[in-house]
Structure formats: C-alpha cells, structure tokens
Symmetry: C2
Subunit: 344 residues, 2 copies
C-alpha cells in the first residue's frame, strides 16, 4: 500500500484525505504550525472546519512531527496557503531523501526575491537546488472542488495538471464514486486558472453585495456578463503565459470559477466590498473569523506578475484593472464594474 | 425618428421596449392573441408580468390591430415563443410591403413539415416565398438578458448576431446606459446558444432541486462540473452546425447559460424535476401558473435536430443524453447526472 503524506490540515488538505484513504492509501495528514488545534480536535473527535471526523485510517501529525509524517513517503500533497508555501516546501525538502511526487492544492502566486512566480516555478527551483539530477515530478490540482462538499461526498470532479506522463495513472487512482480525477498535461494552465479564479470570483461577490444591500434578488444579468468577461480575460492571460485556453474553457477554468462564484471565501470578500467595506477591512474582518480570502493577495501579486511580463496585455483586461482599482484604491465598485461594458 | 414594431408582449418583447423607447425610437408593442390581458393592463396601469408601467412613448396594440402596429415599420422585433413563431411570422409577412429588418428574441427550434430547423432558417424560407429578390435581413438576439432585470435597468449586455453588415450600426444604436449591445456576424452561433442554454440550464435546476429536497445548501461542486460540461457540449454542437465555438465561450454561451442557471423558468423546470416531479407534471404545473418553460420542448426538438444531422455526435453529448432520458423517460436524475462523470 503506497504511503501518501498531506501537508496542511486546513480545508483542502484535510478534505483530500477522504478520497485518498477511501482508496486504501496509507495516508498521513500533517498540520502546519497554524493547525495544532485542528490536529488536536481531529484526534479527539471532529475536524473543526469540516465539522466531521477524519477517516480512522488517516494518521494525524503536528507540524513538529513532520519528519515522522514524511518518513518513507514518495507521494506528497501540499494543501497550504500560498503565503506559507516557500517555508513549508523548504521544510519538506529537508525531510525527503529521494525522488518524490508533489501534488499541490495551493493556489496563487508567490513573491520570491522581489519577483512574482507561479508556484511550480518556485518549487522546481528549490527542488533542483537540492536534487540536481532528479526529475521534478509535479501536479497542480484544480477544478471545481469546495473542500467541505468533497468531505461530504457531493459528486465532485477535479482536474490534475501533470508535468510528467508517469503521474497520469497515479492521479486517476485517486478517483472514488464521489470524486472523479481527470488529467491533463497543461499543468501551467491549471495553475493559472486556479489562481485567477480566486481573483475574478470576487467580482461576482461584489455584485452580490451591491444588490443585497439594495434588497434586490434579481440582478444576474449583471453578474453573468461579468462572469463571461472573467473567463475571456482568464483565457487571454493563460495564452500569453504559454498555457492553453482550452484549459480555461473546461473544468479548471469555467468549472472552478463557477463554484467559487457560487460560494466560498473570495466571493464573500467581494460581497463585503459590495456592501461598502473597504477591501482591507473586509479581508481583516474575515481573518478575525479564521478565514483567509486568498484572492486579496493573489490579485495584487497577479497584477504585478502580468505587468512585469507583458504590460500591454493589461489593456485587454479591463475587469482585472477594475478589480485592482477597487481592491487597492477603494474605488467605487458599482461605477467601475458597470462602466466596464463600454470598455469590453 | 425610425419606427420599430415589437410583436409579442410577454416578458422579453415588453422589456426590450425600454431601451428602444429610451433611445427615442417610435416604438409600437403589439401583443399576440394570448396577450390581450397584458395589453389591457398595460394601457390602464402596469404590465402584469414586469410589474411596472410600459414607457409612455410606447404605443400599445392588440393582436387584432397588428396591421396598424406594423404600418410604416421597417424594423420588427419578434418576442414570441418558438411554438407560436410560424403563425405569427406569416401574419407579419402579410402585413409588410417592403424590405424589413427582423430582430428576434424567440429562442428554440421549430418543427416544420416534419423536420426540425433553426428559427432563422424557417423565417428565411417563409420570407423568400413572398419577397423573392429582396435581401433577408435578420438578427438573432442573445446574451444574458433576463427580461425583468432589463426592465429594471440592471446593467445588461446583449449580443446581436447579424446576417448583414448593414445591421451593425442599427443594433448598436439600441444601447443605453443600462443596456449595451454587442454585434457579431455568427448569427447562427447566437441562435444555437440561445436555444441550447434553455435546455442545459435545466440540469443546474435539477441539481438545485435534488439538494434543496435534502435540505443541503452546499452542493456546487456538482453543479459546477455540470455547468462546465454543458458549455463543452454547446461548443461541440455549434461547431458541427457550422457556427463558431468562440460564440459559445462568450456572452451568448457562457453568459447566457450563467444567467439562466441562476434564475429563470427553465432552471425552475429542472428544480421541480429534481424535487421529484415528472417532467411533464413540472411543465404543466408551471403552465397553470402562466409560465412556459421552453426548454422542455426545445430539448425534444433539439435532440432530434442533432440526431437527424449527425447521429454520431450524440455519443459526445452525454449530458444532453442524460437530460433527454430524464425528460422523456422520467429516469432517475440523481443517478443519471452523477454517473455522468464516468462518461465525460
């Protein structure tokens, strides 16, 4: 029975243990330094975020036990926030001795030595520093997967972007009767869509917030062209960065933006902004409740990432520009989003 | 001031009079034989479906006055159901004497002499029977436009698929500060997307119905991959019928499926089926309330339309097949939709 270690006991890291352990892999779940309470609670009774017990055949570890959690493991899932990724990935590298496969649930961009990167770029650089002649095996996991729903066995599809053909069968073997894994080679595309949907879903949330404030429940003409525009911009960005627009027009893009726009933390960040909160107030309010709206930082990093690579592209991304102005300058969201339809 | 006549005083025909009359066109709204009460009510006070008065500069006509409504009009909007289209279009042709432009809000497929057609195909045939040497000028209107929201000035985008370059400026001149018109030449694509979204949105409704019945509010992983699959199938169908998949990946496809999946009659038809009603029970229940869920008949016609043209294509449309079985054979919707992810 193959051993799998999942690092990060937040929503996604914990939820993925259900299909993995239901497939009888030998699964270890190791929290980060922020997850001690989650691990304690999960050992005693239930996972406090998922509100249910972790499967009994999953071994639970605290951050300080990461060496034990990773021992003899060749398949490593990473389910931490993008902010913590570098530190945690370095720690993982310290604790492995041989060829491993990394599958990451982390979404977003990473700032490293004053430049912005996709997560897999940083991971590969760090990996090659230690393992010069070993193949870097990487999978970016995307698609419409809300962790709580996966943990409750709602029929779920996920898309695994793999950088090496040898990962295809492994990925497919994680499928269950409630979790279906599809694989594609465009791991960059999956990575980019996963990051961008956290940004763009905030725009749907903003419209929800604007109209909920007005006591209106019928305003989907507005959110629909914004949704459609978001997909178009995601496709444009993907192509410029060497990924395929096909990936956007599939589960990784349309599917994931849809689920994130229906519910989730980044939609809620937008909703609070639509209701009148300044962006940083909204972000901090959620943080106090223990929820990280990653789209807030992903937008700032993503905007710079695009600007550094291809400044002219920004002109073709009026929705992204509007969101950037709303988030960084607290510009009027109704006016900015509405006036967009004259610019697209 | 150009004269525009809108035929059909249901939701969409009536709603389109707001941007048209706000642009100071000379607008006449003529009900069908089913709309007498709507016209009476609108003359006296408010439009009973839109729950607000029609603009004062719009002239209102009963079906029996169609000759007066069409007099001197060269721009004709058609906002009737697909079931009534042929009879009404024939009546329009009887009452016009010269070159006209037709802009249609009707969505769906039409059965004519035992074969299934797109609406514009039938319209062109009927038109050419009468006006042999006159250019057939046609526009299929699509995009995410819920009529009640348009009538309430929610920022709305619409896409006008035009078959003749001369219509471009006319279409754009309908824009207001709450209604933005975009034009494309792929009128076939707009027509196909508009029909198909009424079919596929029922699948999102079914999932809503299944989980509302279970008192669950978090099930969007499921609806998201179904939404994404719907777009993929719409793109496949469009290409086979000579339209562009780009049209699907834009306001006419993604945008319109999104709004129709959030609210609207075809989503509701699906919801009732998800709650346990048989498809025809659900359709008739809505009919009693005065609401026509067009997707019900569009699915039956659309399925045959595809089958006649290209039977092999159906194999690549597992969601459409599942919907067809649910609607025509009352097959178990949960089982059929869930098991789809093994077939896509």
């Amino acid at each position: 029975m193959k051993k799998i270690t999942v690092i990060g006991a937040g929503y996604m890291g914990s939820a993925i243990t259900y299909p993995l352990s239901d497939n009888n892999f030998d699964v270890s779940l190791c929290g980060t330094w922020l997850d001690d309470e989650i691990i304690s609670s999960s050992k005693a009774s239930i996972h406090p975020k998922l509100k249910k017990p972790i499967n009994k055949n999953v071994k639970l570890f605290y951050w300080t036990e990461i060496d034990k959690a990773l021992m003899d493991s060749e398949i490593i899932f990473i389910g931490v926030t993008s902010e913590g990724f570098i530190e945690i990935f370095k720690k993982i590298l310290e604790n492995i001795k041989k060829e491993c496969t990394f599958l990451t649930l982390t979404k977003g961009f990473i700032k490293y030595k004053n430049k912005i990167y996709r997560i897999s770029e940083i991971a590969e650089t760090l990996f090659k520093d230690k393992f010069k002649n070993i193949i870097f095996k990487w999978c970016s996991i995307g698609g419409p997967v809300k962790a709580v729903e996966l943990a409750n066995f709602i029929p779920t599809v996920s898309i695994y972007g793999i950088n090496n053909e040898s990962l295809r069968n492994l990925a497919i073997s994680f499928s269950t009767d409630y979790y279906e894994v599809f694989t594609i080679s465009d791991f960059k595309g999956v990575e980019i869509s996963s990051a961008l949907k956290n940004i763009y879903s905030a725009s749907i949330g903003i419209i929800d917030g604007l109209y909920i404030n007005d006591n209106k429940d019928s305003y989907h003409n507005f959110s629909s062209w914004i949704f459609s525009q978001a997909i178009k911009e995601m496709a444009k960005i993907s192509v410029v960065f060497g990924a395929s627009e096909k990936t956007v027009f599939d589960f990784a893009g349309i599917g994931d933006l849809y689920v994130t726009s229906q519910s989730g933390r980044n939609r809620r960040l937008g909703e609070l902004i639509g209701k009148g909160f300044k962006a940083d107030e909204a972000y901090n309010l959620m943080l106090k409740e223990g929820e990280v709206a990653e789209g807030f930082n992903t937008l700032k990093l993503g905007f710079k990432w695009i600007k550094d690579k291809n400044k002219d592209l920004l002109i073709k991304l009026p929705l992204l520009q509007a969101l950037y102005n709303i988030i960084t300058e607290n510009s009027n969201p109704y006016y900015l989003l509405k006036s967009l339809f004259k610019k697209i």
